[in-house]
């Protein structure tokens, strides 16, 4: 795995030189447009990072987990992965931290750890992705996208729970 990215870069440069592309100048102009994109997504980044920090610190995530617990019980989803399921769409770093915490608490060979791992690996930081990807565009209405993406996340939670059940 360590060699893939370096090999890719060499491949790109060699194939560029072979085609007579002015590599350095092209690279510089690419960096310039990259910098513009970086600046354009900054506001969205401020919005989502401060919201997710507030959400975690206020204790709302924990409270929501308690409220949703009966519903999860009904679907036979282990309640222990609930906080993870709630934080996963918002914060990548936060969810990885919570995942390690979950594995530490329940042990590597537990159904809960397995479900938590599958959950983390098969879903993405949905809200973060949507705000960053649309941050540089003129799109204002993202309701449909959010609904479809959250639906996918929910199916991911169900899947993680079912698969972990089958394997235990």
């Amino acid at each position: 795995m360590v060699y893939i990215i370096p090999a890719l870069i060499i491949l790109v440069l060699v194939s560029g030189l072979k085609k007579g592309v002015p590599c350095y100048t092209t690279f510089i102009s690419g960096v310039e447009s990259g910098l513009k994109t970086v600046v354009s997504i900054f506001p969205a980044l401020v919005a989502i990072l401060s919201a997710s920090a507030m959400l975690r610190e206020s204790g709302l995530i924990d409270a929501l987990s308690q409220v949703l617990a009966p519903f999860f019980n009904l679907l036979k989803i282990p309640v222990e992965i609930l906080p993870l399921a709630l934080i996963r769409p918002i914060s990548g770093g936060g969810s990885i931290g919570l995942l390690t915490d979950t594995i530490k608490t329940f042990g590597v060979n537990s159904r809960i750890a397995l479900a938590a791992c599958i959950l983390c690996a098969s879903t993405e930081t949905t809200f973060y992705t949507i705000s960053v990807y649309f941050g540089g565009t003129s799109v204002k209405y993202t309701k449909r996208v959010i609904f479809a993406a959250v639906f996918g996340d929910f199916v991911g939670i169900l899947c993680a729970s079912c698969l972990s059940m089958i394997n235990f």
Binding site: K19, V31, M54, G59, I103, I130, F147, A149, G152
Partner: protein
């Protein structure tokens, strides 16, 4: 996103007040905003670097080659898009688990789709489909999870990989399906 974001802030503040953690919550919000700078700086260089490399890929025509490789899938998902090279690069980077390379390609692809959508405030079908594709996980080899499992002394962390594939595929398919249904109902 307008509603989601406002709801996140309002409910956090109210709940923080009820919970007696108002001060901590406010503090977290501000330091969260501060961390946006660090997060941005931490990937700004990386993002610029990959944008530069991608530009070389684009001009050398190597992008066209990758496009051909994945074209059966990408063409079916995005038949109306004129230039699919950024989309293809994004999907390849996602599959290989190179998040740092996937984001710049994805954002460029999104900006290009935005142009093709004539910068309208409503996302085109292609834009929403592409976003949904990126909010589901496409990774072929989940290195982070395997690393975490291994660090906790799991003798065989790779056993989880097929399970992750199944779960990713099902959740991605259902998200795409939901997006498809919603786009149908909205156009009529």
């Amino acid at each position: 996103m307008n509603y989601v974001w406002s709801a996140l802030i309002i409910s956090s503040l109210i709940f923080g007040a009820v919970n007696g953690r108002l001060e901590e919550t406010m503090q977290a919000g501000l330091s969260g905003a501060g961390s946006a700078i660090t997060v941005l700086l931490s990937f700004a260089g990386m993002m610029c670097f990959w944008s530069g490399i991608l530009k070389i890929v684009e001009t050398s025509g190597a992008g066209k080659f990758c496009e051909k490789l994945l074209s059966p899938v990408v063409y079916r998902l995005f038949p109306k898009v004129k230039d699919r090279s950024h989309i293809t690069m994004n999907i390849i980077a996602n599959l290989l688990g190179m998040g740092n390379a996937a984001t710049p390609a994805g954002i460029s692809a999104m900006c290009q789709l935005d142009e093709e959508n004539q910068k309208r405030p409503h996302p085109s079908r292609e834009m929403s489909r592409f976003a949904v594709l990126n909010t589901a996980s496409l990774q072929l080899f989940p290195t982070t999870i395997i690393g975490i499992l291994a660090s906790f002394g799991d003798p065989n962390p790779y056993r989880i990989v097929p399970l992750i594939w199944v779960s990713s595929a099902v959740s991605l398919a259902s998200a795409l399906f939901m997006d498809f249904i919603l786009s149908k109902t909205q156009r009529r």
